[in-house]
Symmetry: C2
Subunit: 197 residues, 2 copies
């Protein structure tokens, strides 16, 4: 998605340990008009899939997931990172390990939020090691529902998450695919390259 | 806002300790079309205020704040509850005490996200004791920016947050004002009552 790639080149900052900081338009200050375009794009790509619900994990995936669900005209489910006081007692849960935060957290979705006939689209801001996505897939599996695919705003294609999803036959649509952050420079995967390396 | 009040009566569950569970349409499963209407309503009420940015606190305020910012055509700023690895180093911070979670957390906004000329609209899902709102007001004050008002999806008018904001001359627009949850029944403040008590 060209506008997204341009924004990454313009506003993204490469930090140590292969972290791409996108706090100017995605994770902290949010460009709401760009995120509407992101939602429109995901809704278009998954238009034939009869999606019944969009699923994401709090907190940084919420905005693109919200826009996608709105454009598809379906509810959004926000998986919670810890048991909230007001969350229903019957829960589907999964463990998610964060390499950046070096901790494993338990994520949860209320059992009455996902049903066996649901066709779920997972949306997240980043795909790196794929741990968050695997946790969401586990929850969908426990609910007996169908995963129609995964929509990712920014994919770090040099980390193992994408390959794992491909090998497991799960459709992935990433709006920006980054092949490398080496030397502090953002390089995109060539198939979707805005600027050829 | 009539559609919101109807949804609260239909789907809200009153739990012990004056907790109103709205996991069916606001906090966990999100009714994205209703939240679009919420955004349109806030944008209408604050249309004359020349809002430059919408500010909220992660995670449950993000959806209504995102919809409001989109409808106003301005960026959204999501205050973070803990220092994120990828957040900028120069931060405006404030302490926020949660009565339900019985903990005080530090919230932060990057200094480069709010400028002195900004006119900020705070949006949150709930107003009860007002602690989260006070923390966001502190951050806006530290940045030297202007608070144009506070938009709340569900106000618990029987708790002290609303009165504190009124006494401090801060404009508050709440789409549903709840006067009581006693006996497990939702009662609305009469000025906006859908069903008269």
């Amino acid at each position: 998605m060209r506008a997204l790639q341009e924004m990454i080149l313009q506003e993204g900052r490469v930090l140590p340990n292969n972290i791409l900081q996108v706090d100017q338009f995605l994770n902290h200050q949010v460009d709401t008009l760009l995120m509407e375009q992101v939602g429109i794009e995901f809704a278009k790509r998954f238009a034939e899939e009869n999606v019944t619900k969009v699923l994401t994990l709090e907190a940084s995936g919420i905005v693109p997931a919200n826009m996608t669900a709105l454009k598809l005209g379906v509810p959004l489910i926000i998986a919670k990172k810890s048991k909230s006081l007001t969350l229903a007692h019957a829960l589907f849960t999964a463990d998610v390990h964060s390499y950046t935060k070096r901790e494993t957290s338990n994520i949860a979705v209320a059992e009455n939020a996902i049903h066996i006939e649901d066709r779920i689209l997972i949306i997240d801001d980043f795909l790196a090691n794929g741990e968050a996505t695997k946790g969401l897939l586990t929850i969908i599996e426990k609910a007996g529902a169908t995963t129609v695919g995964v929509g990712i705003v920014i994919e770090k294609s040099f980390q193992p998450g994408r390959q794992w999803l491909d090998e497991n036959g799960i459709r992935v649509e990433s709006l920006a695919r980054i092949s490398s952050l080496q030397g502090g420079t953002v390089a995109f995967v060539k198939e979707s390259a805005l600027i050829e390396e």
